[in-house]
């Protein structure tokens, strides 16, 4: 019921925005079409890039390419970052060893790596994955680390009192206890992955939604810019949704109410 109502309200909001958009551009011309596209321009741009080509490819090719790179970068970053964060939270030697490296790298904004990445790896996929990795890595590590550090010391004592072997502690206590924070980190990592990918593609790329945006800007083609922006928004939202589903499934014990 509430879900349905939320959906209806959502659609109503979108419809109102579309109506205002139409009135402001097409109907009255208060906003000049050179600055912001009319709904019709946007529709034309969408069908052009969907059924034809723009910036070396069709929309689905650009989208597929971007999603592939985001997921690749995100998964490499999370796959290394989460275990590393857990290790740092658990083992003070690992913490002492790795923390200085972090303090050095962390102040550098991930986007500042883009020129270096392109210089090293060219305009291809490898450079993008590297930049995403830099951006997505930090939140995964930091939040997993915090999750372990925040485990109730009394719980750790109970674990020791019960004679829990190390691997069981890791699997059944440390990871479940840190899981809410791990997911917080993953969500931040995913957002960072999209941000950096689009930025990296804007700077230099052969395919991808960022490339579409870049070419559309050079062509002064507002309709296509909007199509690119909306595509990024939808895909970012969809990947976040999927991650949210996984999170809900994994943290079921937190949701059950008696």
């Amino acid at each position: 019921m509430t879900n349905n109502r939320r959906l209806i309200v959502g659609f109503a909001t979108l419809a109102v925005i579309a109506a205002i958009w139409y009135v402001m551009t097409e109907a009255t011309g208060w906003i000049s079409p050179g600055r912001f596209p009319t709904p019709l321009d946007t529709w034309d741009a969408l069908s052009q890039v969907t059924f034809g080509e723009y910036a070396n490819g069709a929309l689905y090719e650009h989208a597929f390419h971007s999603v592939k790179l985001v997921l690749l970068g995100f998964m490499v970053a999370a796959g290394i970052g989460v275990p590393l964060g857990l290790l740092m939270g658990w083992n003070s030697k690992a913490e002492a060893l790795i923390n200085p490296i972090f303090l050095l790298i962390r102040p550098i904004p991930p986007l500042a790596w883009i020129p270096l990445a392109i210089l090293w790896l060219g305009l291809g996929d490898a450079a993008k994955v590297m930049v995403i990795w830099f951006a997505a890595f930090v939140p995964s590590v930091v939040n997993s680390y915090t999750g372990v550090k925040a485990i109730d010391p009394a719980v750790i004592e109970a674990v020791r009192m019960l004679g829990t072997p190390r691997w069981r502690f890791i699997r059944e206590v440390m990871i479940p206890a840190a899981l809410p924070m791990i997911f917080t980190g993953l969500r931040l990592s995913l957002q960072a992955s999209w941000t950096t990918l689009v930025a990296a593609e804007l700077v230099g790329a052969l395919y991808g939604l960022g490339r579409v945006l870049n070419v559309a800007q050079q062509d002064i083609y507002p309709g296509m810019i909007l199509v690119g922006m909306i595509s990024v928004a939808i895909l970012g939202w969809a990947t976040t949704m999927i991650l949210g589903q996984v999170e809900q499934r994994s943290l079921r014990w937190m949701q059950v109410r008696g």
Binding site: D152, A154, V155, E157, A158, R160, M161, L162, G163, T164, P165, R168, E172, V173, P176, A177, L179, W253, M254, V256, R257, G258
Partner: protein, 265 residues
């Protein structure tokens, strides 16, 4: 034949560079299968004593031995019921209780049987698959007690285990503990603020001084209990009415009040 033995135990905590003498020469021994309760003013070091027997904390001076060996680490032979439960929120009630048995390598069939018994003992039937946050504070505490009982440990260390229970549940848990102690006596070190509880449950009651804590006085309850046949009374309130009970309780109460009275705040 002491099962737990504190010999001239001193403990100094360092907080912000300042040494706090918490325990100063604690001597106390708990014989095998004996039930000893510790009472004392808040902050006198009761929990610290228990934590040293558990192996979470170590004496600055003196020794703490369990079964004639220095305590070096915690272990399932000394089951602890923590003052703040310390349950695993992501595990169900049954899983919480079962973990210690799994760690010991108890076969599955026996494990399930023992978990079932512990759940029945603590009147937690029907909540096997509930998560801790779905239970009341008193029920959570019962899970913590079941998690310790199920191990059938040589030594039970209980830190105000009935503190969070409502009066009625508390009484039935106390009666249950007395019944268990008769059927299957264990070595128990039990901390409480409730003097009546200490007198009702314990073989001996150790009274501690205010910080720095020492054992001020040890009251033998068991001889009185046997002489006055407390065990013939089923209910706690009947025992509490007995003159011998009231006498002991009042004595301990006075002794404690002296400590509290001289406390500097």
């Amino acid at each position: 034949m002491a099962s737990i033995e504190f010999s001239s135990v001193g403990k100094v905590f360092n907080r912000a560079g300042i040494d706090f003498v918490t325990l100063d020469g604690v001597d106390l021994s708990v014989a095998e299968k004996e039930f000893v309760a510790i009472v004392g003013p808040s902050g006198c070091g009761k929990t610290t004593c228990l934590r040293m027997a558990a192996g979470f904390e170590f004496p600055t001076l003196g020794t703490v031995k369990v079964n004639y060996r220095d305590v070096t680490a915690p272990g399932p032979d000394r089951a602890v019921v923590f003052q703040q439960f310390a349950l695993f929120p992501w595990k169900t009630v049954a899983q919480n209780i079962e973990l210690g048995l799994r760690n010991k390598g108890v076969p599955k069939v026996e494990r399930q049987e023992r978990v079932k018994n512990a759940i029945a003992l603590m009147s937690l039937q029907g909540y096997e698959s509930a998560y801790p946050h779905q239970l009341s504070g008193g029920m959570q505490q019962r899970v913590a007690i079941a998690r310790a009982y199920v191990l059938e440990p040589e030594v039970l260390l209980m830190d105000e285990p009935f503190g969070a229970l409502d009066a009625q549940t508390r009484v039935s848990m106390q009666e249950e503990l007395v019944r268990l102690a008769r059927v299957n006596p264990r070595t128990v070190l039990f901390i409480t603020h409730a003097v009546e509880e200490a007198v009702y449950l314990a073989d001996r009651v150790a009274i501690m001084t205010k910080r720095p804590g020492r054992i001020k006085e040890i009251i033998d309850i068991k001889s009185v209990r046997l002489a006055e046949k407390w065990d013939e009374h089923e209910r706690i309130e009947d025992v509490m009415d007995l003159e011998s009970f009231v006498h002991l309780r009042t004595h301990i109460w006075r002794s404690l009040r002296e400590e509290k009275g001289s406390q500097v705040h």
